[in-house]
């Protein structure tokens, strides 16, 4: 006796969250059944393995049919074939567009066109995420990038919580930030997402002009051009000395690593200002994080600055500029340094 056909269709489409998870994670039906058995569901419900197999197949088939709709979430809301309560629809979309940080960390800053099979293969072996799941996540990233447009259409719904993270992914992809270098490996996706959010809030066109789409993914070109003006802070020897003395006076006795700071001040300041000045070139924008780590994080770390000292220093460093009489670009400095300070603090860890 072999089963030829075995289906279950409900008027309201049944969604089993656990099976959905397994499906999203790219497990085959056989693996999913094995995992479900291991979860002890048979004992809880008194079902047999055959029942579980049939149930899993059924859910997989439903998800497979839903996938077409999930690629364009507004379609899922208006389609008539599957009757799914709104809360469930939201869950479906949210989960479908959720991603593994490990995966995203790998593709962060890379082009989001569908990765070649080999790329995905590499990522899959490296992260232990199934190839299927990698492919789905890659696709959802490109869906998110290609659109954001469906967000407007689905405005009936609040954006899924994971959407902020997509902003980061798309922002990184658009600006092609380098994140794969060895010295950046210690940074997590969370670190980058944090930085991305700060930058989106302060450094993009949308940040200054509320008319623009608040999801604007491009840096404010004018702002980047202007940043060249900051160079005076390190180019003008007097200004640099004055800045140093202001910071040193304020921090004397408060910093555990005062002497190291004093010795390194000019190097650090030069580093931070030069990063700003370089941002006019696209190529250098890509290296932003490499530069920040090289020019600031690593020197501080080699001198064993505690995080609190870094915070003190950066606060004082940015504030003292206001007391420099000869410096006219206070607003520009604040826009730049305010964001950078947040980023650096986040990036500063082992």
């Amino acid at each position: 006796m072999t089963s030829e056909l075995d289906i279950f269709v409900g008027n309201t489409t049944l969604i089993d969250e656990d099976v959905y998870r397994l499906w999203l994670d790219g497990y085959s039906v056989t693996d999913a059944v094995a995992l479900r058995v291991r979860s002890g569901i048979l004992e809880q419900t008194g079902a047999t393995a055959a029942v579980l197999q049939s149930d899993t197949m059924d859910h997989y088939r439903t998800f497979h049919m839903l996938e077409r709709l999930l690629h364009a979430p507004p379609k899922l809301l208006h389609q008539l074939i599957f009757q799914i309560p709104p809360s469930r629809q939201a869950l479906l979309i949210e989960r479908y567009y959720a991603f593994d940080e490990a995966f995203v960390r790998e593709v962060l800053g890379k082009k989001l066109s569908k990765g070649t099979k080999k790329d995905l293969d590499d990522i899959s072996t490296k992260t232990g995420i199934t190839l299927k799941s990698c492919r789905r996540q890659m696709e959802s990233c490109s869906v998110a990038q290609a659109g954001v447009q469906w967000r407007d259409l689905s405005s009936l719904q609040p954006p899924p919580p994971g959407f902020r993270d997509y902003a980061a992914i798309v922002f990184f992809a658009n600006n092609r930030f380098e994140t794969g270098k060895k010295k950046l490996q210690y940074l997590s996706f969370g670190d980058f997402a944090f930085c991305a959010e700060l930058m989106i809030q302060n450094w993009t066109l949308g940040a200054v002009d509320s008319q623009m789409d608040d999801m604007d993914m491009d840096l404010d070109k004018e702002f980047l051009q202007d940043l060249k003006e900051l160079k005076v802070l390190v180019a003008d020897k007097d200004l640099l000395d004055l800045h140093k003395s202001l910071v040193c006076t304020a921090l004397r006795g408060k910093l555990g690593v005062f002497s190291e700071m004093e010795a390194n001040f000019k190097n650090l300041s030069r580093g931070l200002v030069n990063v700003a000045a370089k941002l006019t070139h696209n190529k250098d924008v890509r290296d932003l994080f490499v530069d920040l780590v090289e020019k600031f994080v690593e020197p501080c770390r080699s001198d064993h600055w505690p995080l609190s000292d870094v915070r003190f220093f950066l606060n004082q460093y940015s504030a003292s500029v206001h007391s420099l009489d000869g410096f006219r670009h206070q607003a520009l400095w604040d826009r730049y340094m305010g964001t950078l300070r947040g980023c650096l603090l986040r990036l500063y860890h082992d």
Partner: protein
């Protein structure tokens, strides 16, 4: 020219890409009705076209309005080649033809293509202007309402129930016409869909005409089926019950509403009649006068004294005069005569209803069934479908005579079905023999009906169980006892029916789904030889199915089956039998005895041991089941039951027959002969297997119940969550081990596994009950078995269940006490019995009394009858009961509506095979939904194999049903049924085809919690002057 149909095409969305180059579509729409076609403009380069067309107007006969569907075709414009069809929408405009139903059809419809499935949606608005009073036109029957629901629809009241209407139309199947060889599969499928749509329109119109002739205005329990006879043609047939229905004007007026249909019904007359006790208003019509003279109040004094005590001594007269059932007093005879005369005007006194207005069902008989094996031949003249008509007439005649032999004049819960394999066709009909109250069957004014019903007073809860036939002249051997409820009338020990459990019946514990499953191998044969082989097998199949049912019923510790449906399916090399029913423990019937196993070789010690081991297992199972289903009837001592009734005359006649093409009616004696107890003899391995298979049925996991009737006996506190589903399984048998046993085991496993899967899938709804579980078996190919299940899972409140299950028992005890005050002092004892500790030891009587089950386990008909209870109780008493009952109803209502309904979302269309929606009130019926779809694929693998293909198709069918209901302005389909799901595959060619036919009633429902708001406001308006009250109702 009495009608103008107006159609407007608004917009489309999610259209498929038809032009690969631009990834867009240039869509336009053709609107066709009859032979007239209109076109919209082409909307260039869009997947979401906005046509916003003018109103297309069709001026048509109302006959056409009824027959023809509106056909909307969406096409892609192509300048250089032929336009490509994207898909079609068929809209049945019938709901627009009756005044109370929908006024406009407007909404998004899925665009359906038989090859590609749903491809986008189209927004359409349809209206109909009717010019004349349509009832004057005899060719059309506009205005006759159709309901699939097999009870009187919720917001209507039955004035008269006229009776059986049937019709069939035949045609050539386009799939088998010569032209099919040259046209595309799509064209062929569409021709078929269109033809069937036309034929069902025509059928409905013809049935409507018959209803008008009977002076009715509605068809209830309308069941339409297709017989795909292949080469020999296509038959569309329908049966139904003609009624005159009255719309209840203000639904808020009879709040509080109940979930159960008949409870509502009960309250209606009392609320509508301002003065229930006035008998002074003299009867105005002769008919009324006639019935009035039989009114219980008049015969009360005469009857009450004699019938209680002298029942068994009541002289039996008129034996052998043809009409059976002569017992009862003069009233009985009069009632009988009257019923008879009312019913004998009709050719077939059949009713497709399964639930009835209170008082309608006076005497319920047992199951009557008839089957006939026919050889199909080409239908030569489609306009004169005489052969098919004759076949059915023959079967109905048989059913009628069976019912008559049982002392019943009517058949209720009647249904017909066919099973076709190649050129052999099994026609089956079954129903429940019954005696009905004539008052609903006659013409009379509304007031007359109401008045009579009040006088007559409500039948007792046990009434319908009492035997309708004469105990000294029983049509089959049965063991009778005095009714355990009223102690006055006699009841059989087991009762089988095809109807739903009457809502006022007293049930102990809960019910459960009971299935008998059976396969029999058959040699492949041709034509006549094949038909003979099948008719030879049928009696054995029926016998075994019945034995299995009886055994399983006893194993559950229950004594009655409701909703019995036996399906015999014929295949190339086997016959399958599947019987489903809901077992219950009726308080009025005696406690079922156990099952005893007897070995044939008593000398073998180890064998003996084995037998006793089995016996123990069976006893344990019975005990376990009793606990599981909460069956703990109050014990009754021997003296109360009274002296055992004298053994009935030995006369076993099987009222069931298989007639071959030769019309020969076989009468079989299937009784086991005289035996002392219900004994299973284990004389060979086969029998052993049988016993084993009895024990393999696993009860549903805790928190689950299942039944195949409308509502689960013993549960009445439904919460609002429902989930309707369809599940299909096909298994392939390995041809090597095809023995009857292996086959049986496979089939049994298939059904059991299917049920287990359902329980697992729906585990999140616990506690819940699967209601209206409907299994359909088909044998699409040699070694394939297909089982289709449609059911609805309904959640219920477990805590309340405990309280409410008690109430019916208590109520019944109260009832019993009021009924029997004069008789004996036992009511007190009974009351004490409701306490957990039983003062009485298990009565010896049970083992003695049920000693002859075997005599009747084979007999097909189990009978019940309501004695003239009405006579014994005055109308005053009834009024009291009603008053007493209403506060309880109030309380229940409040409790039930307490849980908030979480899922009141927009655009959701509920579907259910039941006639009601738990926690909600149906406020309007919008019309019948009857849809037929074909889906075909030539890329089976790409669509996910057979499972993927069928899964998608069924989901699409649901979607199309929901869309049509939503367009009518409804939010639910009740009495939904998937009548056909024919699936054929050819994996080698990568092809598959499936036909699905579904129907149901589109309705508007309002949540009870919403209604409560209305009703709480209602009293304030009612308190004001009567003139404002009038305004409220209008």
């Amino acid at each position: 020219m009495p009608g103008k149909l107006k159609v407007k095409i608004v917009a489309g969305r999610h259209l498929p890409v038809m032009d690969r180059a631009s990834d867009l579509t240039d869509a336009f729409v053709e609107v066709k009705f009859g032979n007239t076609t209109f076109k919209t403009d082409v909307y260039l380069k869009s997947l979401n076209p906005q046509w916003n067309s003018e109103w297309f107007k069709f001026e048509v006969d109302d006959e056409d309005l009824q027959d023809e569907p509106l056909q909307i075709t969406v096409l892609d414009h192509d300048t250089y080649s032929a336009n490509d069809a994207i898909g079609k929408v068929y809209i049945d405009i019938d709901p627009l033809l009756y005044s109370e139903a929908a006024t406009v059809i407007s909404g998004w419809f899925p665009i359906y293509d038989t090859i590609h499935g749903i491809r986008g949606e189209i927004n359409v608005v349809v209206k109909v202007d009717l010019f004349n009073d349509l009832n004057r036109f005899r060719q059309s029957s506009c205005g006759v309402k159709f309901f699939c629901t097999t009870s009187i629809p919720k917001c209507y009241r039955a004035v008269i129930i006229h009776g059986f209407v049937e019709e069939l139309v035949v045609n050539e199947d386009p799939e088998y016409q010569w032209i099919d060889r040259i046209r595309t599969p799509r064209a062929s499928n569409e021709a078929r869909q269109r033809l069937i749509s036309l034929m069902s329109g025509e059928l409905q119109r013809k049935i409507g005409l018959k209803v008008l002739e009977m002076r009715g205005n509605a068809v209830v329990g309308y069941l339409q089926c297709f017989d795909l006879e292949g080469e020999s043609g296509l038959v569309v047939r329908a049966i139904g019950t003609a009624c005159t229905l009255d719309k209840l004007s203000s639904p808020a007026a009879f709040l509080p509403a109940c979930n159960s249909p008949s409870k509502e019904m009960k309250e209606i007359p009392f609320n509508e009649d301002p003065n229930p006790n006035t008998h002074s208003s003299g009867p105005s019509t002769p008919l009324k006068n006639q019935t009035y003279s039989f009114s219980p109040s008049k015969s009360y004094s005469r009857q009450s004294s004699s019938s209680d005590t002298d029942l068994s001594l009541t002289p039996k007269t008129g034996m052998g005069s043809g009409s059976a059932g002569k017992e009862g007093g003069p009233f009985k005879a009069l009632l009988r005569q009257q019923t008879q005369s009312a019913l004998e005007q009709r050719e077939f006194p059949f009713f497709t209803l399964t639930a009835f207005p209170p008082g309608f069902l006076v005497h319920v008989g047992g199951v009557v069934s008839a089957r006939s094996v026919k050889l199909l031949d080409r239908i030569h003249n489609p306009d004169e479908p005489e052969t098919r008509d004759a076949w059915w007439a023959e079967i109905r005649q048989e059913i009628k005579s069976h019912a008559k032999a049982l002392g019943c004049h009517a058949v209720v819960g009647y249904s017909e079905s066919t099973s076709i394999c190649e050129e052999v066709c099994i026609l089956s009909a079954s129903g429940t023999a019954a005696v009905l109250n004539p008052r609903f069957l006659q013409d009379g004014t509304v007031e007359g009906c109401l008045e009579q019903r009040l006088e007559e007073n409500l039948p007792t809860r046990c009434g319908f169980c009492h035997i309708p036939y004469d105990e000294l002249n029983m049509p089959f051997p049965a063991h009778l006892t005095y009714c355990y409820n009223c102690r006055k009338q006699k009841v059989p020990d087991v009762l089988f029916t095809t109807i739903d459990l009457p809502t006022d019946a007293t049930v102990i514990g809960k019910g459960c789904l009971i299935q008998a499953r059976l396969c029999r191998l058959k040699k492949k044969a041709q034509a006549e030889a094949n038909a003979t082989a099948i008719s030879n097998l049928l009696p054995f199949m029926e016998y075994e199915v019945h034995t299995q049912l009886m055994n399983k019923l006893k194993l559950k510790g229950m004594n009655a089956l409701f909703g019995l449906r036996i399906q015999i399916t014929v295949g190339e090399n086997m016959l399958m039998g599947l019987a489903s029913a809901t077992g219950v423990y009726l308080a009025a019937l005696p406690t079922p005895g156990g099952i005893q196993i007897a070995g044939k070789t008593p000398n073998d010690g180890s064998y003996e041991q084995h037998i006793s081991h089995m016996q123990k297992k069976i006893n344990d199972t019975i005990a376990k089941n009793k606990e599981l289903y909460e069956i703990n009837p109050p014990e009754i001592s021997e003296e109360i039951i009274g002296s055992p009734i004298p053994e009935p005359r030995q006369r076993s006649r099987l009222l069931r027959s298989q007639s071959e093409s030769s019309d020969e009616v076989t009468e079989l004696d299937l009784s086991h002969g005289k035996k002392d107890a219900f004994v299973l003899e284990i004389d060979d391995t086969d029998a052993m297997e049988d016993v084993h298979s009895l024990l393999t049925d696993v009860p549903p996991p805790s928190g689950f119940y299942s039944c195949n009737t409308e509502i689960m006996p013993g549960i009445n506190n439904w919460t609002s969550e429902i989930q309707m589903f369809t599940s299909v399984r096909v298994i392939r048998l390995s041809s090597l081990n095809l023995t009857n046993q292996a086959l049986n085991k496979n089939f049994n496993d298939l059904c059991e596994n299917l049920l287990k899967s359902l329980y697992f899938k729906l585990r999140s709804m616990i506690p819940c009950c699967l209601c209206h579980v409907n299994f359909t078996v088909s044998l699409p190919e040699d070694e394939l078995i297909q089982v289709t299940v449609t059911a609805v899972a309904i959640t219920f409140d477990k805590n309340q269940a405990l309280q409410t299950t008690k109430t019916p028992v208590e109520k019944s005890l109260q009832r019993a006490s009021t009924d029997n005050e004069e008789l004996l002092q036992f009511p007190l004892e009974l009351c004490s019995d409701s306490l957990p500790s039983h003062p009485f030891p298990p009565a010896k009587a049970t083992s003695v009394d049920y000693s002859s089950f075997a005599d009747r386990c084979s007999s097909w008909i189990e009978l019940i009858k309501l004695k003239a209870q009405t006579i014994r109780r005055g109308s005053i008493k009834t009024t009291m009961t009603v008053e007493k009952a209403s506060p309880v109803g109030d309380g229940n209502f409040r409790n039930r509506s307490a849980p908030p309904c979480a899922n009141s979302t927009v655009g959701v269309v509920k579907m259910t095979p039941l006639s009601f929606i738990p926690g909600a009130k149906i406020t309007k019926y919008l019309g019948i939904i009857n849809m037929f779809f074909i889906r075909e694929t030539t890329s089976l693998r790409e669509e996910g194999g057979v499972s993927g293909f069928l899964h998608a198709f069924i989901a699409e069918v649901f979607a199309m049903v929901r869309a049509h209901v939503a367009a009518l302005g409804g939010n639910a389909v009740v009495s939904y049924i998937m009548k056909q799901c024919v699936f054929m595959e050819n994996p080698n060619k990568n092809q598959a085809q499936c036909l699905i036919n579904v129907s149901g009633d589109a309705v508007v429902f309002v949540r009870e919690s919403d209604l409560e708001v209305v009703s709480s406001q209602q009293p304030t308006t009612n308190c004001q002057s009567s003139c404002t009250e009038g305004e409220v109702t209008t």
